[in-house]
Symmetry: C2
Subunit: 537 residues, 2 copies
């Protein structure tokens, strides 16, 4: 895959170490997409030409419910201990509440224990800590692909742990098989391959419900995977971040914490958090449940990097304690809204003849857009991603998840109005999907023309002839300045580096600035100048 | 020093990697002391036999002011963006407020820019990120000793960066000199020594006001240090965490951000936060100001590990925006209370003939207790520390700050009632300071006798004959079980490891448990049994 590759043409930044340069150049399409969106968010009135984000997995359907609960008076509580240093595993009162809540939510046969819990500011932090505690630098962790791409950075950036891919086939391979079917045989084969390469394999990561496939593994499947881990003395890191995001009530989900017994409890570590199931990714709460006290102890030492404000810990405890609100208000209404959004988007996909994995879980659909590729390559997939991005729709391409087959995309459906737009996007204008984006490079950095689609279409305010409006700089625009358009492998950071290099080593700045000031939107020019100044430094 | 040494007698924990074992065994007396305190906090009515904490640098004098402000209605605010992913540098609205606040507080000649700011969950996180960005593993950073000991872990645990000590002399070395005097010559000498050892030196850490010396460096001194850094192409990491904690108004503090120009702005990085100056260490807010955008960009990639909840970011912005409250209520009252507490404790120290560095800054006093050592060694210093701890008073010994001379202690004075106790502690019972604690080892793990001092003395409720009460297990008790009492270099984690090893490899458990059940306090026995069970696992 293209992930993890670096732009060797980029200059080394002298202020940073080799590691610092490598951190800067770490390729992460999910983050790059998010940065594009975050700097230019679509808003129906304030920024109608902004980016519509169907790429970042966030639940934006339940803000009203959350607002109501999170502004109740019990949330505004301060006491001395909340303003002081505390246990780096999290305040005992919070770990008690999380233990009670997970006992209930996971249908654990025994009460889960607060002492087996660690609460940190998000699951990225927990992945990073666990990787540091159980792996040495360059050790590897098995992971079936596609997988939520940020995990590569979670274990890699600080802890220098590599993921070893176990590729899943996009087509079913027999009568009991299904697309992207994870089996113990595949894990065994991956493990053997890693060992043959002389690598030290310390763990396997299992995601259930799966990200990005949205697949729910059965109790038997998970047990088989855990037994595979035990046989091979691998830690099993079980990511159950979407455990409550299942919107068809007849579908049962089995957390590994619901099992009568775990095959290897000292090597089984279960992650959960508030980001997905409680639609609060900005609240930064991740939880680890493990019976291994050595790991808990190691995490205490790393906890100073991943602490949560005491007052926020209080709020989370209050939320999880309010079982009436959770069971009678939030969860049923959340399921209802997710189901409606899911139905809408799958209907549109069906109309367009785009296949997807059907699942009543998670916030996204794993779609097969191979028919829009001119050839089956990741360059083509990236071209398509850039086409979407250029047209101000952010979705996530398969290579961001290390998918072994090009042409798959993850589409997030859990948004209020924006998802309505998706259907129209595809229905009204599909011709651009195969359009060669190198044509538009000729238009220069500030003259990328907008297709009618870049004007958002809201059912209530839709007009017949949307007018073109200023565009902001995006990754693909920079490509046309600094790098070959045929080389899509550079990260945004790398591209800025290349741009800077070009500017420093030529009279490019003198030559190019003046022509931009003629007749262009002054706001665009300001953005462009700022970027140039920064690059020229 | 003894810091950073490991207990080679301890068994390797098989579930953890070499790095994981090393994390567990990382020696940090400050953290160990805090854990002892946190599990057994002194409370005047609920836990009168708990530990009194004069070791952790926290300001506990202003809770009433903070409570009043932090429970105002503007603090309870939720909007969608606060619950969603955002810029990993911190929400723009928060960085704007921090920039405005620091412009004001540092008397910056130019408005500081939000784009030069990164907000993370504490300065430990910022130290860790900066170390990763500017250093490769095994690179070193110069630091004058004594220094706030946790920085060794901040740069070491994840980023594998070592601190290279520049020892300051405890005695003045000439007429313009003073105790622990930092000079450019000392920095130069340290740099040369590091280079001779073949090390790559990437930065120097400067703390002002200093921790633990409480010293305030002048404008000229700081400028000289920054010029030293520039001459040698070193990054200067300037920790100004106590910049507003100066309680004599006539004393001026010059932040490096107040300078007309910085010698090397691309290599100067200034840390600040809410922990000390706003008495909110549990709120986890640290800020970095740097003009180096490459470092800011690198920190964006690491930001996912160090995020702050959106709602907490809102609260911090509200707080910093409320300049009336800060300038007319909080800061003047905080100064007044700090000054009173400082005066009280220094008066007691003078009475006892204990020297300290006189400074109107910070939350602690750097005291010279060399006269209580039977010989000038760190073992003796550690014995004294254990004696304090055994008597339920936590203060911090010099080796926790890598001080090159044994016998110095940092005493935190910014506490409500407890500091009153300090004077009495020393005045009433000084004889135990030289007492040999190995005697009490004979008494066994649950029979450590309490001196009258272990009963806290409150001026309002003081009684003549305090009665002995249950003690909890402390580090020094474990020493007597598992390790030689004469070897004080093991960390609490190591000691538990050794204990476990002893138990597993012998019939120690059978032999030792029964004798403990006879006539001892049942609560103590429970704690001991729980520890044994955990160790025997």
């Amino acid at each position: 895959t293209l992930l993890g590759e670096k732009c060797f043409a980029c200059p080394i930044i002298v202020y940073l170490s080799k590691r610092g340069n490598s951190i800067l150049q770490y390729r992460n399409i999910l983050l790059e997409g998010f940065i594009l969106y975050n700097g230019n968010k679509y808003h129906i009135t304030d920024n109608p030409d902004g980016v519509i984000n169907m790429g970042t997995s966030e639940n934006k359907l339940c803000y009203d419910l959350l607002h109501k609960r999170l502004t109740k008076p019990d949330m505004l509580h301060v006491e001395p201990s909340l303003l002081q240093y505390t246990d780096w595993r999290g305040h005992p009162f919070l770990r008690e509440e999380v233990a009670k809540f997970l006992t209930h939510a996971c249908r654990s046969p025994r009460p889960l224990k607060a002492d087996n819990l660690v609460v940190m500011n998000g699951c990225s932090s927990l992945f990073s800590c666990i990787a540091a505690a159980i792996c040495d630098p360059k050790d590897v962790v098995l992971i079936p692909t596609p997988f939520y791409g940020a995990i590569a950075e979670d274990v890699g950036l600080y802890s220098d742990v590599k993921l070893f891919h176990v590729p899943l086939e996009c087509e079913a391979e027999g009568k009991d098989s299904r697309p992207f079917h994870l089996t113990v045989e595949k894990l065994e084969e991956g493990l053997q391959r890693a060992k043959q390469e002389g690598l030290t394999v310390r763990a396997v990561i299992l995601i259930n419900p799966h990200n990005p496939l949205a697949e729910i593994y059965t109790q038997k499947e998970m047990l088989d995977f855990l037994q595979f881990a035990k046989r091979n003395e691998l830690h099993a890191i079980v990511d159950e971040l979407y455990m409550l995001t299942i919107f068809v009530e007849s579908v049962m989900f089995y957390s590994v914490l619901s099992f009568d017994s775990l095959p290897d409890p000292q090597r089984t570590h279960v992650l959960w958090g508030l980001s997905k199931d409680f639609a609060m990714s900005g609240f930064r709460i991740g939880t680890l449940y493990t019976e291994n006290q050595d790991i808990v102890d190691a995490l205490v030492h790393l906890g100073c990097f991943h602490g949560v404000p005491g007052t926020a810990q209080h709020q989370v405890a209050q939320l999880l304690k309010d079982r009436d609100w959770i069971n009678e208000e939030f969860l049923p209404e959340n399921r209802r809204r997710l189901k409606a959004a899911h139905s809408y988007v799958t209907r549109e996909l069906l109309t367009m003849g785009i296949d997807y994995i059907d699942s009543p879980a998670a916030l996204y659909l794993w779609t097969d857009m191979r028919k829009y590729l001119r050839e089956p390559s990741f360059e083509e997939e990236f071209r398509l991603w850039r086409n979407f991005t250029r047209h101000k729709v952010l979705i996530s391409c398969g290579q961001a998840f290390s998918c072994s087959t090009p042409g798959y995309f993850r589409i997030v459906f859990s948004d209020q109005q924006q998802y309505l737009r998706l259907g129209q996007l595809f229905l009204q204008n599909t011709q651009y999907l195969k359009q060669d984006d190198t044509n538009s490079d000729n238009a220069g950095i500030v003259r990328a023309t907008l297709s009618p689609l870049s004007k958002p279409v809201d059912p209530l305010t839709q007009r017949d002839a949307p007018v073109p409006a200023p565009v902001s700089l995006a990754a693909e625009d920079l490509v046309s300045v600094g790098c070959q358009a045929s080389n899509p492998a550079e990260s945004l950071g790398s591209l800025i580096g290349t741009l800077r290099h070009q500017i420093n080593s030529s009279d490019w700045l003198e030559k190019n600035t003046p022509q931009l000031s003629a007749g262009e939107d002054p706001e665009i020019l300001d953005v462009f100048k700022a970027l140039l100044q920064r690059a020229a430094k």
